[in-house]
């Protein structure tokens, strides 16, 4: 029997991997991938819980919305990354620090 806890453990693992990617990678696209991973971890949770809502299908609905939003986010993020690359010739987020003083 596959319980909710199983799904949540997988989701937690996925989330932590995403987190690790976000924090450690020096490449904006990889960071984006990490974000996607975390999003998917969240979606997995929603989908897992949606089983107990037969009438309204709230979990699935929000999973769908999240997927769509993730697509939009990705599109915008990629556009930003491209722009950043054009301006700074790098996509290392550490080096994009023009807002900092000094």
């Amino acid at each position: 029997m596959i319980t909710l806890t199983h799904f949540m453990v997988v989701s937690a693992g996925l989330f932590c991997i995403g987190l690790f990617i976000i924090v450690s990678k020096k490449n904006a696209i990889q960071v984006l991938l990490g974000i996607e991973l975390m999003l998917n971890a969240a979606i997995l949770n929603m989908v897992a819980f949606s089983r107990y809502d037969r009438v309204n299908n709230g979990g699935q609905m929000f999973a769908l919305f999240a997927i769509v939003l993730a697509a939009a986010t990705t599109a915008v993020a990629l556009a930003i990354i491209l722009n950043v690359y054009r301006r700074y010739k790098t996509i290392n987020p550490d080096e994009i620090n023009q807002l900092k003083d000094q």
Binding site: E36, L37, R51, N56, A63, L78, I81
Partner: protein
């Protein structure tokens, strides 16, 4: 059988995600991410959300990943060259804080998940007892479609507008700037 499927899918998902995290080569990471997404879609199916799984495959795999690949494959050679120059090892002192953080998060989350005992939650027990639970053999697509057009109409429309805005914005951002 179902359980075996679940473990396989979980393994595929987490393993490929791990490779994404460890991989030096960006392109390989992206393809690994592709696999992760498929794995996830499989998990959705196991969670009795076949419509979501399909959507996942269509939008993520067909849309987002292709978008990512195209985005920097079209953006020119230098970008790829720059992106390739990642020499840091997966296990290194630099990544140590990230490991700790991720590890801590994992520990805490697992802790919480195990303590929370999700299947024993009140509303889940209520749903079980009130048969408000998706049966394994029933398709939810019809129900989703109705809900989407009735109960979730407003969010649906807002999302669609947002999506359009995002796409237009992305297109605007991504266009070649004229030399200033």
């Amino acid at each position: 059988m179902v359980q075996v499927m679940f473990y396989v899918m979980s393994f595929v998902t987490l393993g490929s995600a791990f490779i994404v995290a460890a991989g030096k080569n960006l392109v390989r990471s992206i393809f690994m991410f592709f696999i992760t997404l498929f794995g996830l879609a499989g998990l959705y199916v196991l969670a009795l959300a076949d419509f979501v799984a399909v959507t996942q495959v269509v939008i993520y795999v067909g849309g987002i990943l292709v978008l990512i690949l195209f985005a920097f494959m079209l953006s020119g050679k230098q970008a790829l060259a720059a992106l390739d120059q990642q020499k840091s090892k997966f296990i290194s002192l630099k990544n140590f804080p990230a490991f700790i953080l991720a590890g801590l998060f994992l520990v805490v989350m697992l802790n919480i998940i195990l303590k929370a005992n999700a299947p024993g939650l009140q509303w889940i027990q209520d749903a079980k007892s009130g048969h408000n639970i998706i049966p394994v053999n029933e398709s939810m697509v019809n129900n989703i479609g109705i809900n989407l057009m009735t109960r979730y109409l407003l969010p649906f429309e807002v999302i669609s507008v947002l999506l359009m805005l995002a796409l237009v914005g992305a297109a605007h951002l991504a266009r070649k700037e004229e030399k200033v």
